[in-house]
Amino acid sequence: MQLKKSHNTPRNIRRQLAAATCGLLAGAGHAGGLVASGNNWKIDSALLIYAEKDRVALVEPVLSLSKEIDDDEFINVRIVADVLTGASPNGAVPADTPQTFTTPSGKSTYTEAANTTPLDDTFKDSRGALNVEWDTPLGNNLRGTFGGNFSNEHDYLSTGFSANFAQDINQRHTTLALGLSFNNDTVSPEGGVPVGLTVMPVYPGVKATDGSKQDKTVKEVLFGVTQIIDRSSLMQLNYSRGQSDGYLTDPYKILSVLEDDGTGNLRGTTPYVYESRPDQRNYQILFWKGVHQLPNENVLNLSYRYFWDDWGIQSHTVDLRYRFDFAGGHYLQPHLRYYQQAQADFYRQTLIDGEETTLAYASADYRLGEFTTQTIGVKYGYQFHNGAELNLRVEMIEQNGKDRSADAIGKLQNQQLFPDNEAYLLQAGVSLDSDMIINYVLGLFK
């Protein structure tokens, strides 16, 4: 890294000096990472491949570009695409006979074999997303980051804005943070928005709809404090609260309706209804994180999150990353994550005939149930002397639902009502800057 003298191009002196100091003390290229400065763009890219056993698969490339546009003032652009295919549980329970469902569009049907979890295999989607952030000094030890985001898929549109302020106090040992965000999303489901708790019609019948699209808004505020503990440790504590309003239901999820006779048999006619959720959700989050570097230069990164809302969901998340640094720029970083959530008040695995007319809300979406998620993974990275980095991450994610077969009605006790879900992810990443690319290209012509 060079500190070039220039009167025309802005220079991020503070960051460059920090990086230079790190380079001197810790070995070039193994400390401060890349710095966007002057005409140099910092480029981060990653490709994620995510696959669930017998369910969805996702491919998601991400590109992030950062540039210093004025002294200590940056613009960051993140471009994301993702392609999703495969099958997703539709909310219905397994039965001892094959089950036929009408697709969300109402144009066809799909049939699930007996004694298997019903999966909607018409699940396909592609998405493009853009996020732009402007990070600027605002005054005495105060920084602001202002962002806009846009995301589009064939049945979902999301736009949002955010503002984050960070004030350093206490001789820069403490940073106070305030974050505000607002999102406005529009869902335009295949075949229109189903009316909650009305029946899924037998093909070629048409479902009752409430228009072709619905909106929701999400407002969030965050208060945070980051504290330097000593030369090699810091901690962060955030409190957030948020409110979602509008259409919060999943238009593609249904519930099975059973006969009111204790047998566990599906209702004779139209045994499925569309789910329905409240039109408001208030949630709060406490988030703590600690980062500590050991004398051997390994780094421990530990976080804990407590989340609770007025739907009855409470969750605990512990995330641990431990980075082993090796000579020559190699590092290995094992990752463990544990998540546990309680179910929503209106979560139901099934309904009994008639309940769909008396209940206000009901959902069999497994994501609102009681379950745990365990993640184990490892990341390998290699940092070149010029600061560029290559990395590769492999992880396994397992979700285990609380088995409630004993509480199930009649013959449903013989079915697996909350099957485990297993997923694998593979991520490859490259970080470099535009100077490296230019120098490489110029080198080709020498």
């Binding site: 990086a19 991400v62 736009t159 984050n164 040992h173 504290q227 504590l237 990164n301 994501r367 998620t373």
Partner: protein, 72 residues
């Protein structure tokens, strides 16, 4: 609710009280390293948050903004 605020206030107070060692600007070489940042790899964090947002009923905590998607 009140308990939660008291807990948060307690943790916050202990956070600010446990800066036992003033760290001078010229001693911040370790804290300036990329691997010591609260979010050391923003893209990895973004992808993780996207996955768990689509698979779990909780999200957020670390920051605000970043946008929504139809995956949940």
């Amino acid at each position: 609710m009140i308990k939660t605020f008291l807990l948060a206030a307690g943790i916050g107070a202990s956070l600010s009280a446990c800066s036992l060692e003033p760290v001078q600007p010229w001693d911040r070489d370790i804290l300036a390293q990329q691997k010591m940042q609260l979010v050391a790899d923003p893209l990895e964090t973004y992808l993780d948050e996207h996955i768990y947002f689509s698979k779990e009923a909780s999200s957020g905590g670390q920051g605000v903004g970043g946008g929504g998607c139809g995956c949940n």
